[in-house]
Structures are given as structure tokens and as C-alpha cells.
């Protein structure tokens, strides 16, 4: 996945990137599997879009067959100042190039061909992506929310294998005027190339008309000796006049022909749609972060939080999730059941969540507890660069479950202190 550049002159920067890519591409083998999901700054990944309930309908599709990725995302309240708020966003996917095609995409069940505007921070939205296999291979398929001014915010990725032959991919459509297009991949290309080849032929004839004669030194000398009259002759004038007429006739004929043939055309469709956040019941639990440390050698995130149960049912903490990593309370069955069998195993931390007190929080009770999320994934996912951020903050979602198994999602965020040595750690606690 190439990263969306955050520069205002994106035409220029994309072009530069392309120019570099074009020249470099002949030298460097292209890594097909790796893409930039871990390259995004941790403050973006932990504090902007939190993806949850994401499922993949299958992990193997034939060419032309579809896989559906769907789920929800929560837009984080503690959205970093360094990234633009989600005023304008586009639901996309991360795959290396167009190896899978987009069949349908929805945000809150509304067609998401165009961008969505005015998303609300703090809100939850559902999404659905239907993708079809096009190029055989093993591709890492992620949902992505590209946020204008913040870049692509990549959701959890899962390997999907496309089997079959790329030559079998085909997308036939029928236009509203009844024209049948047998394959969108090749539509209009032959006609365009034929015309452009015709244009090029006229150009080649013109250039050849001139360069067949003695060129550089003789013509240079002739100019210096005042004999320009020899260089452009009466015949050249006639050829130039004929060329002028030919070009005008070809263009006028071609244009007229096209407007006759395609009587009904529409401009490119742009603009954005708007949708309200999902009407979720407010969580009946309040969380206040008291302290947060990241133990660098121990690869452990420790959060001290004050939790208040505002419901009339006892609550237990089942999951902490941030940057697509999921830390589960393994002693809580309902939390474990929340992980869909299709969810990628590498994003579920093996050691789970450690709690200082896992007993149910009684209705009305306020409890201070320590949550420990320890996993090598912090390193692997390159999430530990808290120190390099302008604001050393951490964020994530806590999933509490009441006695009926009802889920209550709450945000948790605040400053974080990295701890480099055991001694420091001992002093701190």
C-alpha cells in the first residue's frame, strides 16, 4: 500500500513519487506482501479509527468470486491535533495495486462510491466491502479509512488467497443507454489506441518530411550565411498548409462522430455523502485514566484506571483494543466469544489481558484497577515510538460486559510515560 501523502501539492508529490517509482522500478524487486500498515505513526493508529467486529467471509476466492469484509469503526474522541479531523473520508482497502476489485462498498449501508463527509468524532459507523479476486496470489486485505489530511488509517488485515487465472477476470456491464461493455478492463482502449496511433502517424510523417534532408551543420551554416530562403521552401509551405487542413478536418470529423455516437454522456460524479453515527446505547460504565506506562524492556503497557459501573448489573472487563491489536480477558467467555473465527490470529495477543482485580464490579461501584497488556506485538507492530510523538499519549477502547453479556464500549486515553529500566519501574510504583 502506498501511503497517501499529506501534502497540499499532492499532484506534484504524487508525480514526483511516480517518477521515482518509474525509474526505480526497473532496479528494485517489488515486495508483494509487505505494505505500509506498520509504517503509520502510532498516534494515528491508537487514537483515530478503532476497528471492531471485523469479519472476512472467506479466505480463499477464485478469480471473479467475492469476499466480504465488514464490521464497525469508532472514531476516537482524543483525536490527535496533528491529524485532520474526519471531515472528509473515503472507505477503501489496502492491497498491492488492483489485485482485487471493488464490487460494492458501504458506510452505514449507504453506497460509498464517493467520499463521506462530516463524520463525527466519538461516533460509530458500520462498513462493508465486497471485493472480487482478480490477480491470483496471497493478498493481505485490510479495510482502510482514508481521512483527508490524516492519511490512510488501516484496519486489521487478513490474508486472502486468490486462485485461478488472471486471464479469466472479466467485468461485463451494460450502460444506461444500452451499450454492452464486455469487459471494463479493456473498454475503449483499442479505439483510443487506434486514433492515437493515427495522430502519431501524421506526426511521424511531418517530422520525417523535415529530417530526411541535410540537417544540423548545413542548415546552421546556411542561416549564418543569410540563406534561410533555402531552408523553408514553397513546397514546405504547401505541405504545412495541407497539414493544417488535415489536422483540423480529422479533429472536427472525429469530434462530430463521437458526439453523434455518444449522444447521452454525464460528467464525472463527485461530491460526498453524509451519514449520522450509528444509534448505539451509551455505555453504562465510566473510565478515567490515572496513569499509563509503557515498560520498554518488558513490552508491556500498564494502565491504571478508575472504573465506575453506572448500570444495575455487575460488569467485567473483557477486552482492550488499540491499533487493531486485541488483548482479551481469557477468563471471560463472552469476551473470547467476541473474536470471530475469521479474525486474524496474529492480531490477538497470546498473553491476553492481566487485571489487578478481575472480580465483577458491582453496580454503582468505583474501582481503581491496573490493566496490563503485554505482548511482543507492541514491538512487531512498531507501536512503541511513544517518545517520538509531539504528544506522548496513548488511546484505546475497553470492552466491558455486564451479566447479560451486553457489551459496553468505553474510550480510554491519556498521557503515557515510557519506562526504560527495571529500577525506574520500581521507583515509579
Amino acid at each position: 500500500m502506498s501511503l497517501h501523502l499529506r501534502m497540499p501539492r499532492r499532484g506534484l508529490s504524487l508525480s514526483l513519487l511516480l517518477a521515482v517509482m518509474t525509474f526505480a522500478s526497473t532496479l528494485v524487486p517489488v515486495p508483494v506482501a509487505a505494505h505500509g500498515e506498520r509504517a503509520t505513526e502510532p498516534y494515528i493508529r491508537t487514537r483515530t479509527v478503532h476497528w471492531y467486529d471485523v469479519t472476512w467471509s472467506t479466505q480463499q476466492v477464485g478469480v471473479n468470486e467475492t469476499v466480504t469484509v465488514e464490521g464497525k469503526f469508532h472514531l476516537f474522541t482524543d483525536w490527535p491535533d496533528a491529524a485532520s479531523k474526519p471531515e472528509l473520508a473515503f472507505l477503501s482497502n489496502a492491497t498491492p495495486g488492483a489485485v482485487m476489485t471493488r464490487v460494492e462498498s458501504y458506510i452505514n449501508d449507504m453506497p460509498a462510491q464517493q467520499s463521506v463527509s462530516q463524520l463525527e468524532v466519538g461516533g460509530d459507523y458500520s462498513f462493508k466491502l465486497v471485493m472480487a479476486g482478480r490477480v491470483p496470489g496471497r493478498w493481505h486485505l485490510h479495510p482502510v479509512l482514508s481521512v483527508h489530511g490524516a492519511g490512510p488509517i488501516v484496519g486489521p488485515g487478513h490474508w486472502v488467497e486468490v486462485t485461478g487465472s488472471a486471464a479469466d477476470y472479466k467485468l461485463p456491464i451494460t450502460t444506461m443507454t444500452g451499450e454492452v461493455i464486455d469487459d471494463l478492463q479493456h473498454y475503449g482502449v483499442a479505439r483510443l489506441q487506434l486514433w492515437q496511433a493515427g495522430y502519431a502517424l501524421i506526426a511521424v510523417a511531418w517530422i520525417f518530411w523535415w529530417i530526411r534532408r541535410p540537417l544540423i551543420v548545413p542548415r546552421w551554416n546556411a542561416i549564418r550565411k543569410g540563406r534561410e530562403d533555402l531552408l523553408v521552401t514553397r513546397t514546405d509551405d504547401r505541405v504545412a498548409a495541407a497539414m493544417l487542413v488535415l489536422v483540423l478536418v480529422v479533429v472536427i470529423f472525429g469530434y462530430h462522430h463521437a458526439t453523434q455516437k455518444y449522444e447521452y454522456v454525464v460528467p464525472l460524479q463527485a461530491g460526498s455523502f453524509k451519514t449520522k453515527p450509528l444509534p448505539l446505547p451509551p455505555p453504562e460504565v465510566a473510565v478515567q485514566m490515572k496513569d499509563a506506562t509503557y515498560d520498554v524492556p518488558g513490552r508491556s503497557l500498564r494502565l491504571d484506571v478508575e472504573v465506575t459501573n453506572q448500570s444495575d448489573s455487575p460488569m467485567r472487563l473483557g477486552e482492550f483494543t488499540t491499533a487493531n491489536l486485541r488483548f482479551l480477558n481469557k477468563s471471560l467467555a463472552v469476551a473470547l466469544a467476541g473474536v470471530d473465527p475469521s479474525f486474524p490470529k496474529d492480531l490477538v495477543a497470546g498473553s491476553g489481558l492481566k487485571l489487578s482485580d478481575d472480580s465483577p464490579i458491582a453496580p454503582g461501584e468505583t474501582r481503581t484497577m491496573r490493566i496490563e497488556a503485554t505482548d511482543a506485538a507492541w514491538e512487531i507492530e512498531r507501536l512503541v515510538s511513544f517518545l517520538t510523538n509531539v504528544d506522548s499519549r496513548v488511546g484505546g477502547m475497553l470492552f466491558f460486559f455486564d451479566a447479560q453479556g451486553q457489551r459496553h464500549m468505553v474510550e480510554v486515553f491519556g498521557p503515557i510515560i515510557p519506562v526504560f529500566t527495571q529500577l525506574q519501574l520500581a521507583q515509579r510504583h
Binding site: 473520508a89 444506461m176 495522430y199 523535415w210 479533429v251
Partner: protein, 279 residues
């Protein structure tokens, strides 16, 4: 060899053995110049035109029609000035656009289709080649950069839209997608995902030009033509500047070898004539 060719060689006073070498030099310079024109035209266009020509769903009725002519005429004008002033060869504009088109197609197949798996229908390029031919032809007929700028550059800007609509109109047929009406071009852009190019970075018909009734295409084409005139003059001037290279003085013997003996000593100066002086 025509009568005219012989006359030119005679006037040029090349020594007999230098005539053979001169043709070899011509061929070498054609190859070198072709690569030079190609790379300069291509890089300049990538930097300035960029996205509007990459993708079919960027080719809107306003900015595409405006931006492609005005970003390509600058190199067309510069190379035209160089080839006309130094050699009275009216091929600079055509060569610039022809080689740009060739280079563009190579990149579309090699990088876009080959490395990013984009179908060619998503990345078909437009071209200003017809406008470039008009620019060169008018230069021959008028022998004047002033007239060429006035009429040639105007036609250059105006011709881009009709010359490309000829084979691109089909991409703008209406089609249904997920219950909404869209164009075939939009659909191609939707179906084949570009991870680094989210939909919102397209700039489709924004600003005041859009408010001129429902045919913004010709309004844009005329505006493009208008801008082309000024850019033509500006970059013709840049081409002239490039002709003013300075040379090391050479000995009499070498001068007689390449036929410059009878000429006024211009080895330390620029072109003899003023840019665009008519004959």
C-alpha cells in the same frame, strides 16, 4: 537528394569529406535530441500535469481540459524555439508531444499495468499532439513566433478537448452502480482500487468556471487557449535563451573543415537572427 538539399550543402561550403560526416552527425544528434526531448517533456509533464492525465476518472470537464494543454505547451514552445532558431526546423512542438505520448504509453504498460495491476482502461492518456502539429505548421506558414503564438497557441488550447473527446466520449456514458447513476469512467476508478489515491483527492469541476451554464467544457477549452498564448510566448523566450549558448573559439583550419570559414564570426555569440524574425 533533392535540388534544394544540394543547394543547402553548396551554401554551407562543407568540405567533401565533411558532408559524409555531417550526415552521421545528423543521425547521432537525432538520437540524442530525441532522448533529451523525451525526458524533458515527460518530466515536466509529470511535475505539472500529474494526476489529471493518469486516471480516466480525473478527466473532468474543467481542469483536465485546462491543465493538459497549458502544461504541455511550455515544452512544445521551448523546443520549437530551439529547433527553429538554430536550424529552421519546425518540428520541436510535434517531437515534444509525440515523444511524450510514446513515453506515457511505455509507463502505462510497464508501471501502471505491470507493477500496480491497473487495467489500461483506468490509465488511458490524452494527448495534445494535434495541437502541436498545428503549432509547427503555422510557424512554417507565418515564419513568425508572434503569429504562431496568436493563432497556433490558441488552436493548441482549443483542439485538445475535441481531439481527445473523439475516443474518450464513450467513457462518459451513464451507468448504474449500487443504485446510483455514475459514468463509466467513475465506475472504472471505483472498481479498480488505488490505495494511495482516495476518491476525495480528485478535483472535479470546482470553482467559478463551473458556474457558466451547463457546458463548462468549451468554456474551459477557450480559457486553456487564452492561457496557452501567454505560456507560448514565455517559453518560446526560454527556448531562445537556451540557444544563446557560448562556444570556445576554434582555429581557421577547423572552421574551413566544417564550412564556417566564409561566415561572419559568430562563434562567441548567439543565433544570427532575432528570435522569430521573418524572412
Amino acid at each position: 537528394m533533392t535540388e534544394n538539399d544540394r543547394a543547402i550543402l553548396k551554401v554551407s561550403e562543407l568540405s567533401p569529406q565533411a558532408i559524409g560526416w555531417s550526415r552521421t552527425l545528423d543521425l547521432l544528434i537525432i538520437v540524442v535530441a530525441a532522448f533529451l526531448i523525451w525526458s524533458v517533456s515527460h518530466i515536466s509533464f509529470l511535475l505539472l500535469g500529474g494526476d489529471w492525465d493518469f486516471f480516466i476518472d480525473w478527466k473532468d470537464r474543467q481542469y483536465w481540459i485546462l491543465i493538459i494543454p497549458i502544461t504541455t505547451i511550455i515544452m512544445a514552445a521551448s523546443f520549437q524555439a530551439i529547433f527553429w532558431n538554430l536550424f529552421r526546423l519546425p518540428i520541436g512542438a510535434t517531437a515534444s508531444l509525440l515523444l511524450l505520448l510514446l513515453g506515457t504509453w511505455i509507463v502505462r504498460y510497464h508501471s501502471w499495468e505491470g507493477l500496480a495491476y491497473f487495467p489500461i482502461s483506468l490509465v488511458v492518456p490524452g494527448t495534445c499532439l494535434m495541437g502541436a502539429l498545428v503549432l509547427d505548421a503555422i510557424l512554417v506558414l507565418s515564419r513568425s513566433w508572434l503569429v504562431t503564438g496568436m493563432f497556433g497557441a490558441t488552436l493548441y488550447g482549443l483542439l485538445f478537448y475535441p481531439a481527445n473527446w473523439t475516443y474518450m466520449a464513450g467513457y462518459f456514458q451513464p451507468v448504474m452502480n449500487m443504485g446510483d447513476m455514475t459514468s463509466v469512467a467513475d465506475l472504472i476508478g471505483y472498481v479498480f482500487p488505488r490505495a494511495g489515491t482516495p476518491e476525495y483527492i480528485r478535483i472535479i469541476e470546482r470553482g467559478t468556471l463551473r458556474t457558466f451554464g451547463d457546458t463548462p467544457t468549451w468554456v474551459s477549452a477557450f480559457f486553456a487557449a487564452f492561457v496557452c498564448i501567454f505560456l507560448y510566448y514565455l517559453f518560446w523566450g526560454l527556448g531562445v535563451l537556451a540557444c544563446n549558448a557560448r562556444f570556445f573559439p576554434v582555429g581557421e583550419r577547423f572552421k574551413s573543415l566544417y564550412g564556417a570559414k566564409g561566415a561572419k564570426d559568430q562563434t562567441a555569440g548567439g543565433p544570427v537572427t532575432q528570435p522569430g524574425a521573418s524572412s
